[in-house]
């Protein structure tokens, strides 16, 4: 199951006061997430499986995969990030427009996985603010669906995004 800042109640306004306008915007946002799949390794294959016909992610609205960061609002980091790839990932993150969410998929993106050596970044949260972590190596495509649902709950209740409370620092 995906782990994140999951609010307890699904009612809008729980913990945060939301106007009707904001609630409507949140409703629109959560059903049209545009993911940017930053798929480097094995988790990328499971991402392709999640978008496939069996574990259909388009049921949850997150179907339109955008390969340009300017057009995406969710950065799905699937796979190991090493020191050579890290600046590339940070540059992609900086190019995305607010509001944006980051999902760390798999053990390697969450904490380095079982690679603890001179070349692997021990978790992307060392350099990027992360909203949802999906454990697994690789996680089932159902884990990705769970992460999208958790993200939708966060959007719906107006929970603060990770990028707001964690300024990016190099």
């Amino acid at each position: 199951m995906a782990v994140g800042n999951r609010p307890k109640s699904a009612l809008p306004g729980s913990g945060h006061a939301l106007t009707t306008l904001e609630a409507m915007i949140a409703w629109g946002r959560k059903y049209s997430i545009y993911p940017f799949t930053f798929a480097t390794a094995c988790c990328g294959i499971e991402v392709m499986g999640a978008f496939g016909t069996h574990y259909d992610l388009s049921r949850f609205g997150a179907e339109v995969v955008r390969f340009s960061p300017r057009q995406a609002d969710m950065l799905l980091v699937a796979g190991t990030i090493n020191y050579k790839m890290a600046p590339v990932m940070v540059r992609i993150y900086e190019q995305m427009l607010e509001p944006k969410w980051v999902v760390a998929m798999g053990a390697c993106a969450s904490s380095g996985g079982f690679y603890n050596n001179y070349t692997v970044l021990q978790g992307i949260d060392k350099i990027l603010p992360v909203d949802v972590y999906i454990p697994g190596c690789p996680p089932n495509p159902e884990g990705i669906i769970d992460a999208v649902v958790a993200l939708q709950k966060m959007m719906e209740t107006g929970a603060p995004r990770a990028s707001e409370r964690w300024p990016i620092k190099i």
């Binding site: 390794a41 016909t53 790839m85 050596n117």
Partner: protein, 406 residues
Amino acid sequence: MTELVGAQRGRGKLDLHAEPMILNIGPSHPATHATLRLVAELDGEMIRSLIPEFGYLHRGFEKESENATWTQVVPYTDRLNYVSPLMNNVGYAMAVEKLCGIEVTERCKYIRVLICELSRIIDHMVCIGANMVDLGALTNFWYFWKPREEVYMQLIEPLCGQRLTTAYTRIGGAMWDLPEGWVEKCRNVCRTAILPAIQDVNALLTKNRIFIERTMGVGPITAKDAIALGFTGPCLRAAGVPLDLRKDETYLVYDRFDFDVPIGLKGDTCDRYLVRMEEMRQSVRIIEQALDQLPGGPVNIDDTRYVLPDKQLVYTNIESLMQHFKNIMEGIQVPAGEVYSATEAANGELGYYIVSKGGKGPYKIKVRPPCFPLFQAMPHLCEGQMIADLIAVLGSVNIIAGELDR
């Protein structure tokens, strides 16, 4: 000879002064399957020179395996070629077994052949599917993804417990035997999911004019150049060289099956696609024959120096308990020496060079990735062609970054 109309006079051939442009087809690009970088110097659309760069997925496989025991290296080998992980496991187990001098049981050999051929089929499906997505033919991707899911859910997951990173083989055998009903399910999946999908994609692509124009003559290579550059696998066979380790240096029980090895003519993208499609059909042939000939008997060898003893014995017999303890805590004891063992993976020759100094883990493991020489030859394949051709070639060469970078 009509005279040119006044407005067009003197404009017949514009003498443009063009400078070459450097285009970075960067590591985060949908067509590079992430983590590959190509720096192209372009003259208009024509590629003048190409510099490939990689290493964006270097995870330190060799350094990690130096600090692990012999059995702990098996999960690391899964992540090498992650679209056909079972083949990497088999290759590693075979290399260590060559070093130990042990030979696995008949049933284990047949099971290894079965899982290797299934992995080959799913690897080729990803390759062709992804290649076609880059060319704009998205339907084939979905047509091939359905049998992949069938193989994952009906065959690999009941067998290994995991869909993708399987870690199935062990030194001296396998994790456990085939579950009940697996043989029937395998036949069923081959007949109802894999072969119809191959037929569908064949109907969509092979005689399709757009596909032929996009891929025929794109990225050709001669047999002589392919050998000099170190090609192996479908790309070499597409260039006309009949090298297939399953036939030429037979390992496991491949000599008991009747199958053909497809050879191409010109080594271009169309040939590579056709070779892969035919190889999938031949793999289904091998699977059917292997299922017919599958013998009974144990999967693991009887030698408890390498294989954990039976659970019943561990609970009742003191020697088995001690052996179990030693195997887990200290790792299996492999003699000192060095060995190179190669198998025919989906992409070519996957070689493992293992140096052992006795002891609980390897002193050094080097993996010879099949796509290393293929990516090295990208400038040779693409220079003089256009950018759109580069994308077609890159997909057809099937670079898996996990294997390339290790």
